[in-house]
Symmetry: C2
């Protein structure tokens, strides 16, 4: 059982943000103590970490994250998908729709990765130029120091 300050430290979010995420339904409301203090569990922390991941990595808006989490919930939680729907016709429709969006998401992720890798290459080239510049200046400094030393020794 954690209180909000520990959760904040653990996740890197502020307390305000944590309460805000609960407020907009992005997070299950935790138990409360007698006096009303929120009591979080490990599951809450993990939930938040997934939210953060989706926010930072995918760049989703909080609303989109909301939908995504509901989605994930439906997919991991239950044994049957959409058991509430009786007609197999409608079930199939729903599932095919999900399949389509999942495929689209996967393709989007692939594109993201390749773009990131391209940018990474660019940054590596920059870094190489910078380290080369550093090496050159250091060498020049060494040489002028050597000259000074030589002068002293003569």
């Amino acid at each position: 059982m954690f209180k909000i300050d520990e959760v904040a430290r653990e996740t890197g979010l502020t307390k305000r943000t944590i309460r805000y995420y609960e407020e907009i339904g992005l997070m299950p409301a935790p138990q409360r103590s007698e006096g009303g203090t929120r009591q979080y569990t490990q599951a809450h922390i993990e939930h938040l970490q997934r939210v953060i991941s989706a926010r930072d990595v995918l760049g989703f808006s909080l609303q989109e994250i909301q939908e995504y989490m509901d989605y994930a919930q439906a997919l991991t939680g239950q044994r049957e998908l959409y058991p509430q729907i009786r007609e197999p016709e409608r079930q199939l429709e729903k599932l095919r729709e999900m399949d389509g969006t999942l495929e689209a998401q996967l393709r989007a992720l692939d594109e993201k990765v390749s773009k990131i890798l391209a940018m990474k290459q660019e940054l590596e080239q920059f870094r190489d130029r910078v380290t080369a510049g550093i090496a050159r200046i250091e060498k020049e400094q060494d040489q002028s120091e050597a000259k000074i030393t030589e002068g002293k020794n003569s």
Copy 2:
């Protein structure tokens, strides 16, 4: 020479956004016509596309993109890095600072990629569950259809 509407169509940004990016210095101000109409070149479009990429893929704020672009400018444009600085001591300092931030950026990118891959795996599992569900329902439908056919044939 493009006018703003073509640039908007080409990049997918709105005209307002394009002017805004110029306003906050995220984009070099283009030439103007006699009457003050902005005249963009291909280079402007490419610049914008890189901005969009950084915004969407990396999730940078416009300020961060700004810094990154300045950075890239300094590194690709000139032959010498910081030639305006005379003292090699200060130059070294600057270069080492750049090297540090570049390394940090590279690590951040690596982390992003690995997070994306993790999320991708999760999505793939979801997809597999969904396709399995689809297959199951289709099979059940086939069987009931077969029974009906059988009934007809008897």
